[in-house]
Amino acid sequence: MLQITDLSKRYGDLVAVNNVSLAVPRGRVVGFVGPNGAGKSTTMRSVFGLVEPDSGSISWDGEPVGPSHLARFGYMPEQRGLYPKMKIQDQIAFFAELKGVDRKTALSRAAEILESLDLGDRMGDQLEKLSHGNQQRVQLAVSLVTNPELLILDEPFNGLDPVAVNTLQDVLTERVATGAGVLFSSHQLDLVERICDEIVIIVDGEIRAAGTVHDVRASAGVRHVSIQVNRPLSPLVDAINHPLVEGSTDQVVAVVDNDNDLEAILAQARSVGAVTRFDYDMPDLQSVFTSIAATAGADSQEAS
């Protein structure tokens, strides 16, 4: 398990991350979500020593992460980049060798992984001869070639076509099944909700929510109640005494605190007219994230 504890890093007056703690257990996919500049990349880079934290600790299976552990981790940086003139099989093998794999094994694993990513016929091509999408695949191959115990992927879905998104999703599932831990950041919350076992939400360098997708959605403490009626909506909108997230021609979605009595709301709606549909659920990740980000924004404005 990767354990990041109380990680802090400032650049001059700018606080990049502040007391960030998060865990990535083996066999779990953890999604790392936050607005741009929230501290996701700083956190991920510090695992590889690319950022020197001011304070805090990072451990893998209880041992402080050092150079010997890095050989067991795979990384895809947010800033993609490989050697443009290097042949792709050689290139992938080179990065495997840097992690201690012997040359022969490195070359054969590079070949295998290129086959699995449908690049088997391009192995001898220079990277720059490949299309942008295929270069992305090579980048992914580099992060996977050593069969890492921990995968850290910074915005891995960025710039991928839908087919590649599915491939990556399959690959992650497969790795996790073999006991690897995965931490990836993304702005695509629907994807995160679908793939991740757990999520961590970071805003302004601080963790605002963490846990299973269900827990995080529940942590909002509200339910989204959607009511459909067969009448014009305006009397219903007036009758519901809760903030609305949506109001279409025949349906409203209201945000209702968990301790509110849903029966009362249903009764209220019925007093306006016949209710054709009434259901409720926890807010989706997008709504939870939006409200957390908004609250955090308000907090920091108050603070300043």
């Binding site: 880079r45 590889f48 020593g49 690319l50 950022v51 020197e52 150079p67 010997s68 890095l70 050989a71 067991r72 981790f73 990384y75 940086p77 800033q79 993609r80 980049g81 490989l82 050697y83 443009p84 003139k85 290097m86 080179f94 990065f95 060798e97 840097l98 992690k99 201690g100 794999v101 580099v142 050593t146």
Partner: protein, 391 residues
């Protein structure tokens, strides 16, 4: 599956070499330089070749005139060909066709126009022969006349610079400085482009997720340095080959020990300048920035080169002696003096040691800047900022 340091450095070194040694740019660059070296030796040997003097002779000549001429030619190291011609008309035709430079008929020397060299050769030969004949007529015997003439006004030749190869040595000194400059500059440019490429393509982020920045720098410096040594050896080898093919008089001065010390100076100069190039390139995310940051270094490198060229032509001067001790200029100036045969052994050892110490210090400073700045791929840094930066 742990990566220990030597093997990480070795992997980087291997990549630096294999990714370059087969590249078109490297092979073309090496090939071009070899061609240029052969070209220089070829041209020099053409210029050096003295045209033989062709003299036509019509009719009888004073006894001993032709022998005198050959003797004078030998003394002046000029080859003289003599052609017998039937008539004055034939002589004029031979001049017309360039077969002879001039011809002698009776007591006249006929040329297209006054040729100082020809006059200086022919006149004394004929004068002496005529004089001997006339003195003979006056009753002196031949051997007495010969004796008298041989002793008369003969000056002993004294050379102050007793080294018969001094010109050749100067040429080799010049060549040594040029080759070292080219090699160090090319290797420095490779370092700069290599560091810059890793930074601008952001691949450095991935490399540094497995390898320490220090190892990346050291591996790169060693790899490109080995290529540079290969290049220096190839250039020195082709200089020797060209010198022997064209029968250059420079050949004796091109010794194994000169090439040996030349290689040592390459390594020292390369460490000194290459590490600064690496540090400079690590500051800049764009090529223009890299070049601007490194402009002062390039200026120093050029000035050192010109200083060394100057000292190669006058290796004994005070300036030459001084700059062969200053570590920035020593890698060019001292080999020039060594090639000119002017440097004393303790000067060579001392200057090498001093340069090596400074090169290691500079490498240490460059490493600090490189390690701190290479990972910042997003913006241009100043030297001072990089010095205090944190990852």
């Amino acid at each position: 599956m742990t990566t220990d340091r030597p093997s990480a450095v070795w992997l980087i070194t291997r990549r630096e070499i294999t990714s370059r040694v087969f590249s078109k740019a490297f092979l073309i660059g090496l090939g071009t330089t070899v061609v240029i070296i052969f070209g220089i030796f070829g041209i020099v040997s053409l210029i050096d070749q003295d045209d033989p003097v062709n003299l036509g002779v019509v009719g009888p000549t004073p006894a001993g005139a032709v022998e005198n001429l050959e003797l004078i030619g030998e003394l002046q190291e000029t080859e003289i060909d003599i052609t017998m011609l039937a008539s004055e008309a034939d002589g004029e035709l031979a001049i017309e066709e360039g077969e002879v430079d001039g011809f002698v008929i009776d007591d006249r020397l006929v040329m297209r126009e006054a040729d100082a060299e020809l006059i200086a050769l022919v006149t004394p030969a004929w004068q002496q022969a005529t004089l001997v004949a006339e003195l003979g007529d006056a009753g002196l015997n031949q051997s007495e006349i010969g004796q008298a003439l041989t002793n008369a006004g003969q000056l002993e030749i004294v050379e102050l610079e007793a080294d018969p190869e001094s010109e050749a040595k100067e040429a080799v000194a010049f060549l040594t400085v040029v080759l070292l400059f080219i090699s160090i500059q090319v290797a420095g440019a490779y370092i700069m482009m290599g560091v810059f490429e890793e930074k601008s393509t952001k691949v450095v982020e991935l490399v540094l997720s497995s390898v320490r920045a220090r190892d990346l720098l050291i591996g790169k410096i060693i790899g490109i340095g080995l290529l540079g040594i290969l290049q220096v050896a190839a250039l020195a080898g082709s200089a020797i080959a060209a010198a022997s093919i064209f029968g250059s008089s420079a050949l004796p001065a091109l010794s194994v020990s000169l090439i040996g010390t030349g290689l040592i100076w390459f390594v020292l100069g390369y460490m000194l300048y290459g590490s600064v190039f690496a540090a400079g390139a690590s500051l800049a995310p764009r090529q223009e920035d890299a070049q601007a940051t490194l402009a002062p270094v390039t200026v120093v490198l050029m000035l050192s080169y010109f200083g060394a060229i100057f000292s190669a032509s006058d290796p004994n001067s005070v300036v030459a002696r001084i700059i062969s001790w200053i570590p920035l200029t020593a890698p060019f100036a001292m080999p020039g003096r060594i090639a000119a045969g002017d440097a004393l052994w303790w000067e060579i050892i001392g200057s090498m040691a001093l340069t090596a110490i400074v090169a290691f210090l500079v490498l240490g400073l460059a490493e600090r800047i490189y390690v701190r700045s290479i990972i910042h791929t997003d913006r241009k840094l100043g030297w001072r900022e990089a010095w205090t930066l944190q990852a």
